[in-house]
């Protein structure tokens, strides 16, 4: 288990990480979200021991990281990098050896991993001869092939098309099933909502949201309402507690100040009987993200 407690880090006058605490259990995926500069990469860098926290603790399995513990780690940096002149096999082996694995252990697994991520290329191909997408997949394989107990992925979905993003999701879920503790950062809330067991949102270095996706959404109440009924836009706008109405064809999207207003809207919308749609939901992660970012600018 990875445990971060009251982590703080400043660069000069700028507080990059401010009292951040969270845990990641084995077999759990934590999505770390936040705008650029929110403190995600700084948090990762402290876990990786690239930076020393000003205060707070980082514990792995209950103790501070030792050099041996870093062999159980898989890290994918935000900006990818490989040796262009190495072959796929040499590249994967080199990184695996740096994680304390032997060539004999890793070699037999390479083909299986190339197939898992549908890499178009042979293990004998030079990295520079692969397409950018395939290079990215090789990088992922190099991050994951030693089956790390702790996986840190900085923006793993950036630059991937939906098909490859799907392959990556499958890969991450497979490692989760193997018991790895996984933290990843992403700007794409769809991926985060889909695979995260829990999310932590950072803003200006502080944790502003934390919990499972459902818990986080529930904190905001069912304030989103999708409605298809005889009620007109102006009728809807006049209902007290409706803060915004947006029209999408026959459908209206309502933002409610209070989820209790939903009951009144339902009654008025169904006065004449059947309506095709009434869906009252918590806001999506994407909306929560925008909302939280927006708070900062208000």
């Amino acid at each position: 288990m990875l445990t971060l407690t009251h982590l703080e880090k400043s660069f000069g006058a700028m507080k990059a990480v401010d009292d951040v605490s969270f845990t990641v259990q084995p077999g759990e995926i934590l999505g770390l979200i936040g705008q650029n500069g929110a403190g995600k990469t700084t948090t990762f860098r402290m876990i990786l021991n690239f930076l020393t926290p000003d205060s707070g603790t980082i514990l792995w399995q209950g103790h501070a990281f030792t050099s041996r513990d870093y062999d159980q780690l898989g890290y994918l940096p935000e900006e990818r990098g490989l040796y262009p002149k190495m072959t796929v096999e040499q590249q994967i082996l080199y990184f695996a050896q740096l994680r304390g694995r032997t060539a004999a252990e890793i070699k037999p697994q390479i083909d299986e991993w190339l197939a898992r991520f549908a890499v178009k290329g042979q293990r004998t191909d030079k990295i520079k001869d692969l397409s950018k997408g395939n290079q990215q997949k090789v990088q992922l394989i190099a991050t994951l092939i030693h089956k790390p107990a702790l996986i840190i992925l900085d923006e793993p979905f950036s630059g991937l098309d939906p098909v490859n993003a799907g392959l990556l999701e499958d890969g991450i879920l497979w490692l989760k099933s193997q018991g790895s503790a996984i933290i990843f950062s992403s700007h794409d809330m769809t991926n985060v909502a889909k695979i995260s067991d829990r999310i932590v949102m950072l803003r200006n270095g502080q944790v502003v949201l934390s919990g499972s996706v459902d818990e986080v959404r529930a904190q905001f109440g069912r304030t989103k309402l999708f409605l298809e009924s005889p009620l007109t836009q102006s009728e809807l706008e006049q209902i007290e507690g409706v803060s915004r109405v947006t029209r999408h064809g026959h459908q209206f999207e309502l933002t409610l100040a209070d989820e209790a207003v939903g009951k009144e809207i339902f009654e008025r919308a169904t006065q004449a009987g059947y309506i095709p749609e009434f869906s009252q939901q918590a806001p999506s992660l994407d909306e929560i993200f925008r909302l939280k970012v927006g708070e900062q600018h208000d």
Partner: protein, 414 residues
């Protein structure tokens, strides 16, 4: 396998297989080959001339035909002038000499091998003196004395603690030759290896591979593994040249006219000046390598590497030029002083030592100074390396470097 070994192997084998490294190693040998090839061609053109010697007196002719010289061979079959003229026409000989009392003549074709009959003239004079002396009943030992040529032997001396000492090798020229070779080799080594390490580090940093590597191994281990790999590359090159030298020496020592040069150079190839030169070469290259590693860690992008290491290259160029001046002018006080300063000493002290301008004690002192500086600089480079290796800035190399010093105490990294 330890992580040190893994990184060491990766850096060593990547570079040793790279075309740039292979070219760097082979180039001097190719150049030497070209020089020797030209030498050999010239050697062929200076093959001894084939001549015939004719005299009207058969007794004298027989004696003349016994003459030996380095630049001529006498065809003893040719005994008459028509035979000689015919052989000359058919290019069987390069010329013929007709000896007549007071008026000898040498006949040659326009395209004959160059032959200077004045050498043979001395031999003839000597023979003449011997003949006349015998006729005058001069005793044999007197004749011997009469014909012993005067020789002048050059003796090189050096002054150590005010005492004049005869340089045992007596090979000032050889010393100068070695000095020149040291200067050139040292410069080539420094420029190449400083470039290799800076490029190596900046490539990994610029392509962000560094982050992955440093998430599995400490910056200190990685730094020393890289420096060790460069040292191994330097040693590989030196050992390669020594092997080539040994093989080449055995082959070339039978070749004219190199055998004469090798006879002079050979004994000087394994003497203190050469040991010191090799020691200085290793320490000097390491000094520059460590600084280059430090500079390489400061840059953010590959294209900044040249800019970052250019001050270092300028420094090595200056030390090269100073060393070069010292090969011919060892009396400039300023250069003598400068020659002890690390980063200059690796070229200048071996040159001074090889040309006999410096005692072994002073050379050892300079080497010691360079080693102490190397240790200090390595420590500093390691700190700067650890601080900068994961810090990216677009403010230019100099600003990044200055910031590092400012942060030296403020920031504590792995």
């Amino acid at each position: 396998m330890t992580k040190f070994k893994i990184i060491f192997k990766q850096v060593f084998f990547k570079n040793i297989k790279s075309p740039a490294y292979i070219i760097m190693i082979i180039m001097p040998i190719i150049l030497l080959g070209v020089v020797l090839g030209i030498g050999k061609l010239m050697d062929q053109s200076t093959e001894p001339a084939k001549i015939a010697v004719l005299s009207q007196q058969p007794a004298e002719q027989a004696a003349l035909q016994q003459m030996r010289g380095q630049d001529y061979v006498i065809d003893t079959q040719i005994k008459t002038q028509p035979q000689a003229a015919q052989a000359l026409k058919q290019e069987k000989i390069d010329g013929y000499l007709i000896i007549q009392q007071g008026n000898s003549q040498y006949f040659e074709r326009k395209d004959s091998r160059d032959f200077d009959p004045s050498g043979i003239q001395n031999q003839l004079n000597e023979m003449n003196i011997v003949t006349l002396a015998r006729q005058a009943n001069v005793p044999a030992d007197q004749i011997q004395k009469l014909t012993t040529p005067m020789t002048i032997k050059a003796v090189t001396v050096q002054f150590e603690a005010g005492q004049q000492k005869i340089d045992q090798s007596n090979q000032k020229q050889v010393g100068e030759g070695i000095s020149l070779a040291i200067t050139v080799l040292m410069f080539v080594f420094i420029v190449n290896y400083a470039g290799i390490i800076a490029q190596e580090i900046a490539t990994e940093k610029g392509s962000r591979i560094m982050e992955i590597i440093l998430s599995s191994v400490s910056a200190t281990t990685q730094f020393f593994a890289k420096i060790a790999a460069v040292l191994a590359l330097v040693l590989t090159q030196i050992v390669f040249y020594i092997l080539i030298g040994v093989v080449g020496y055995h082959y070339l020592k039978q070749q004219l006219p190199l055998s004469a040069i090798l006879k002079q150079v050979g004994p000087n190839l394994w003497t203190p000046p050469v040991w010191y030169a090799i020691s200085f070469l290793i320490v000097g290259v390491l000094l520059y390598t460590v600084i280059a590693a430090m500079l390489g860690s400061v840059v953010s992008r590959m294209d900044q590497v040249q800019q970052a290491i250019s001050p270092l290259l300028i420094l090595s160029t200056i030390s090269y030029m100073c060393g070069f001046i010292l090969t011919t002018r060892s009396d400039i006080g300023f250069l003598k002083g400068l020659s002890y300063v690390p980063l200059f000493s690796q070229i200048m002290l071996p040159v001074r030592f090889a040309s006999g301008d410096l005692s072994a004690t002073a050379a050892a002192l300079g080497l010691g100074l360079a080693i102490i500086t190397l240790m200090g600089l390595t420590y500093l480079a390691l700190i700067i390396y650890r601080m900068n290796i994961l810090v990216y800035s677009d403010k230019g190399v100099m600003r990044s470097f200055m910031r590092s010093f400012a942060m030296l105490k403020a920031e504590k990294q792995k």
